[in-house]
Symmetry: C2
Subunit: 155 residues, 2 copies
DNA sequence: TTTGAAAGTGCGCGGAC
DNA sequence: GTCCGCGCACTTTCAAA
């Protein structure tokens, strides 16, 4: 399962994170190697699942997504079937961009991206009608100070 | 500044989000158009900043990033220079994947991705030595249930 | 605004080293 | 393993409808 990843692999990943549209030649130049080895390594990293999907980052605001909420959820239910239903509800809702199960007091945190506060309310009503949750706190983002998908691979 | 985005643009954006490595021909086929118009629209959307950077999503766990924290921050300082210093501190730290200024009780939320709990502590100590914060709560993620960068453009 | 075609570029794979 | 080179597919441009 675990993959051996050396310094050259990491350099390649850094380049791909930075700009996945770069040509093989350019990447090879930037990491101090040449096409074929770089290409083979990328292929292996893809097969191993280290490299996931290739995508573009869209500007949420230009597309009318002007509200972003972090939702803190406490529940009293901890059985497997409840958890399954909750998980499925989250997977099915595209406005949920992130969902984590937490350790401690709060059980789950969600990041929900919607067009406006009304759309959030619609999401919230739909969610609590599908699964029982004990307590919900919504934190409204006023400003996205930073947002990146890059992992700090240099360390 | 604002861009008019029609149904065809949205279809193209959906395709790009789904898989940015698709060839123009394939995208054109999927959205019911042909190469050149699709290409021109993509160019305009890029220039308008609607389409941001093209990247790959890497698997955090295979790369040794096994801890993810959501950090809730309260501060008593609200002056511009403090905010500037805080903002810069966050921008400079690559382990901070997201940072939002919030409305209400809690002032900021961060998403911090690190190799382990010790690395989080190092981050935390470094942060509070740079800027004064009143109160910090860290929520430890046990499981990433869902994670996507896709915006729900169909709605 | 779309179509089609033409030129340039990069990929993916074969070899040899 | 890395380097080199070829065929093919792709991107990007530019006419013309």
């Amino acid at each position: 399962m675990s993959v051996r990843i050396d310094a050259l692999d990491r350099k390649i990943l850094v380049e791909l994170q930075r700009d996945a549209s770069q040509s093989l030649d350019v990447i090879a130049g930037n990491v101090g190697s040449s096409k074929t080895p770089v290409w083979n390594r990328i292929r292996k990293l893809r097969e191993a699942g280290v490299i996931g999907k290739q995508t573009v980052i869209l500007d949420a605001e230009s597309l009318g997504f002007e509200a972003c909420f972090f939702v803190l959820i406490r529940t009293s239910e901890h059985e497997a079937d409840w958890q399954g239903a909750f998980l499925k509800a989250l997977q099915d809702r595209p406005e949920v961009q992130e969902a984590h199960r937490l350790a401690g007091d709060i059980d789950y945190i969600l990041k929900v991206r919607v067009k406006n506060a009304r759309a959030y309310d619609a999401f919230y009503q739909a969610l609590i009608s599908e699964v029982r949750v004990h307590n919900v706190t919504a934190l409204l983002s006023m400003e996205e100070i930073k947002s990146t998908t890059d992992l700090p691979l240099e360390g």
